[in-house]
């Protein structure tokens, strides 16, 4: 399988593109030449001011080593690496949370306070800090904070419950926006392609169908590379 970069370079959809080898068996839409200017792999399009901010906070460390250890332990209870899954730490979720705490300082106090609360509970119950307690003991603590009261707004929940809501959210989003999380979810986009409607099996699964009259108005993708022309009555003729 081609990697993404390669596929972008060879799937030529754009104008003025240098002609790349086109396989004669390819359908016309795919045979179009595409050259997307490649983005700089080291940047994500920052202005210099934004880049300076990133560099500055990346050079800082907010959580202590011990806090990072606790964080990793909780994150891996939220998304464990069992049953063949990648874990939160496999996807470097604690590092993402560390970054977010610096980028959005409002997260700092609830996260730091929450991690301290976990250790306090664990010390009281197990005479050891959270990260060194056994899994059953850890889960017992989480069971007390992981199920918010239904129909009570988040800000009215106990602080420990709010902390866990925040940490679960950050863990879930950190994981599912990572490369391995996106792969697990199965998201198939962010690739150059030629959209030509919902596959029939998906239409069948959800019990919907295209209306012929509507489809007749839509782009025939075999003509997408033909320069558009209209008659004087606004009818597309090529």
């Amino acid at each position: 399988m081609m990697n993404r970069r390669k596929s972008i370079q060879t799937l030529v959809l754009g104008a003025g593109a240098t002609a790349l080898a086109v396989h004669s068996c390819a359908p016309s839409a795919e045979a179009e030449s595409l050259q997307i200017p490649m983005s700089n792999p080291l940047s994500y399009g920052r202005t210099s001011k934004e880049a300076t901010h990133d560099e500055k906070i990346m050079a800082e460390q907010y959580f202590s080593e011990a806090e990072m250890t606790t964080l990793a332990a909780v994150c891996n209870l939220i998304l464990p690496g069992t049953e063949g899954y990648k874990s939160a730490t496999d996807a470097e979720v604690p590092n993402f949370i560390e970054f977010m705490a610096k980028d959005y300082p409002d997260f700092q106090l609830p996260l730091r306070g929450g991690l301290a609360w976990l250790n306090r509970q664990s010390n009281l119950k197990n005479d050891t800090e959270f990260a060194t307690a056994d899994t059953a003991a850890q889960k017992e603590i989480l069971d007390g904070i992981a199920y918010p009261k239904p129909d009570t707004p988040d800000h009215q929940q106990p602080a420990s419950v709010q902390f866990f809501n925040l940490l679960r959210n950050l863990t879930m989003t950190g994981f599912y926006t990572s490369k391995m999380g996106i792969e697990e979810l199965g998201y198939s986009g962010n690739q150059p392609n030629v959209w030509d409607g919902v596959p029939q099996e998906v239409l069948d699964q959800h019990n919907v169908a295209y209306d012929e009259a509507w489809l007749a108005k839509c782009i025939d993708q075999s003509t997408r590379n033909t320069v558009a022309k209209w008659d004087e009555n606004m009818n597309l003729i090529s």
Partner: protein, 573 residues
């Protein structure tokens, strides 16, 4: 401070490089005129590898694309937002106008929704229909030839439906609906609400050999690197330069004022260079202001002289008045029949909706004036910051536990992925004399330029309209078998109407008209008070319609530019 003068004289100085400034740059440079474009932000080209964000994965941002620094997230192509460090604005008490600015070549066109709607015949003559506001001094037939030319030059997909107030155009064929849009179509039909293919400026088909064709990444808000969407840089300014036009770009140049002579005519503009913080002036025979409706008003009001004591073009006292944004409301819903989706196909599509609902009702039977259109969103988008938050809140609809931890959360996320749809209502407000921006004499920005102060209140007209939007949303959700999320906002929340400015359709600050006492420009967007100053942004709009303003900005800027060329030929300016 010493002002550094540039002795080169331009035929036309254009302030701002968005839709209006971009179009004026193209048309005027192609007529052989020597143009200076003065832009308050940096140069931007979506094909520049160091600037591009298109096709980036969420994990290429350390904050996974969150909106902490850019209002619409890290990958959005707007350098700016509702709040810009060092460039504040203020509000009167009880006013909460939110002013979105994008400081970059191409301005807000780099990230906009590309919803490209012509105003219809009724939209230019609203006073005749409901006695509110004012008529435009022009009618649809005056603008139609320019809409036609804009369609062909820039490219817009859509369908000719023969609707009375949503005119046909020179459309490219639209893309097929996505799965959630099929649910919308079915629901709308059941609720007896019309639905049509949307009208958006992405190229589903080639229009020339310079621009690429859409490759369906759904990321138009990142500005397209193959120029398959409309952005003013890639579709107007770069082609103008490539065609051999004499176009000089001044970037990072924040215009302070239009300079005028003893006769009150413009001689050029002065600006602060953001790189060295020094003040410069350049000379031009004609000045086109296209800085955005409010920025243009600010420049005019800051251009005081003996001949224009209350600000350039402001003898009517109307500069800044009648500012109005679209009304806006939104609601999301959960569609149980969209659960457990197959993810093995790419449904990114174009950036935004493939189907929409234009206004369809008769106001005579309603308790509010003017209409709104409905925008539709949903689908299996790329996960970015916020994805997976409250991963199983929807469990409460099935009496299943909410919260928890462990691999069960993975099943929840997958079960609900792509099962949420949302609607945005975007409607027409009534322009009000008492809604305005003015110069706040007590505050300057970091360039030393006095800032704008806003005063803006919605009236009952807009609140009732938004109440109707929400009722319509619930009808549609019900017809789709969807469960609305959250509560429908009531009277205590003004029915959830978005704060003015949040929809980013602000227009009307320098409205056009025949009467010099009741308007700022004539129908060709020429100041009544200075015949060599024109306005090419949405300032001259008399009313904003239930449409997005960009297509009309483009058409009117072209019309204005043709008029400028003609007046220069006649030696009138």
């Amino acid at each position: 401070m010493q002002i550094i003068e540039n002795n080169e004289e331009f035929d036309v100085i254009i302030v701002g490089s968005g839709a209006g400034g971009g179009m004026a740059t193209k048309v005027l440079s192609e007529a052989g005129l020597k143009i200076a474009v003065v832009e308050a932000g940096p140069f931007f080209d979506p094909a520049d590898p160091d600037q591009m964000t298109q096709m980036k994965w969420s994990y290429e941002s350390p904050r996974r694309g969150s909106s902490i620094h850019r209002a619409f997230g890290d990958f959005d192509a707007a350098y700016g937002g509702w709040d810009i460090d060092g460039e504040p604005y203020t509000n009167h008490e009880d006013s909460n106008f939110r002013w979105f600015r994008s400081r970059m070549l191409g301005g807000r066109t780099n990230h906009w929704g590309r919803i490209s709607l012509r105003f219809g015949p009724k939209d230019f003559k609203r006073y005749d229909q409901d006695g509110l506001g004012d008529n435009w001094p022009i009618e649809y037939e005056d603008v139609k030839p320019y809409y036609d030319k804009v369609d062909k030059l820039i490219g817009v997909f859509g369908t000719n439906e023969g609707l009375p107030n949503d005119p046909d155009g020179y459309f490219l064929p639209p893309p097929k609906p996505r799965l959630h849009e099929l649910f919308y179509i079915n629901g709308a039909r059941k609720a007896n609400i019309p639905v049509y293919p949307s009208r958006m400026s992405m190229l589903t088909k080639r229009i020339n050999n310079e621009r690429g064709i859409c490759f369906y990444c759904g990321q138009c808000n990142r500005s397209c690197s193959v120029y398959a969407d409309f952005s003013a840089g890639s579709c107007l300014i770069f082609p103008a330069q490539k065609n051999g036009g004499q176009v000089k770009l001044f970037v990072n140049a924040m215009v302070r004022a239009v300079n005028t002579n003893d006769e009150g005519r413009a001689t050029g503009v002065s600006f602060v260079n953001k790189d060295d913080r020094k003040e410069y002036s350049i000379k031009g025979k004609t000045v086109v202001l296209a800085a955005s409706a409010c920025s243009t008003a600010r420049i005019l009001l800051n251009s005081k002289s003996a001949q224009h004591p209350s600000g350039l073009g402001n003898s009517s006292g109307l500069v800044g008045r009648y500012v109005h944004d679209s009304t806006g409301a939104s609601r999301a819903a959960f569609v149980p029949r969209l659960m457990n989706r197959k993810t093995n196909y790419n449904e990114d599509g174009v950036g935004g909706m493939h189907v929409y609902t234009p206004w369809w009702l008769d106001n005579k039977k309603l308790d509010f004036p003017r209409g709104y259109h409905i925008e539709v969103w949903g689908g299996m988008g790329m996960p970015s910051y916020g994805f997976g938050f409250n991963p199983n809140d929807l469990n409460k609809h099935f009496d299943l536990p909410v919260g928890g931890y462990g691999n069960g959360l993975r099943d929840d996320v997958k079960k609900y992925y792509g099962s949420i749809v949302g609607f945005g209502g975007r409607g027409e407000s009534i322009p009000q004399y008492n809604n305005y921006c003015e110069i706040d004499e007590s505050t300057v920005d970091e360039w030393g330029i006095p800032v704008l102060k806003f005063n803006y209140q919605w009236t009952d007209y807009e609140k009732k309209q938004v109440k109707h939007m929400h009722n319509t949303f619930e009808e549609l959700f019900d017809a789709m078998g969807a469960i609305p999320l959250g509560e429908k906002p009531g009277a205590d929340q003004d029915y959830g109407i978005a704060a003015p400015g949040l929809i980013i359709h602000e227009v009307g600050t320098t409205r056009m008209g025949e009467n010099k006492k009741k308007s700022v420009t004539n129908e060709f967007q020429q100041l009544h008070d200075a015949d060599n100053v024109f306005i090419a942004d949405a300032g001259p709009f008399v009313s904003q319609a239930d449409k997005n303003p960009t297509w009309t900005i483009l058409a009117l800027s072209w019309r204005m530019s043709d008029y400028i060329i003609q007046e220069i030929k006649k030696q009138n300016i």
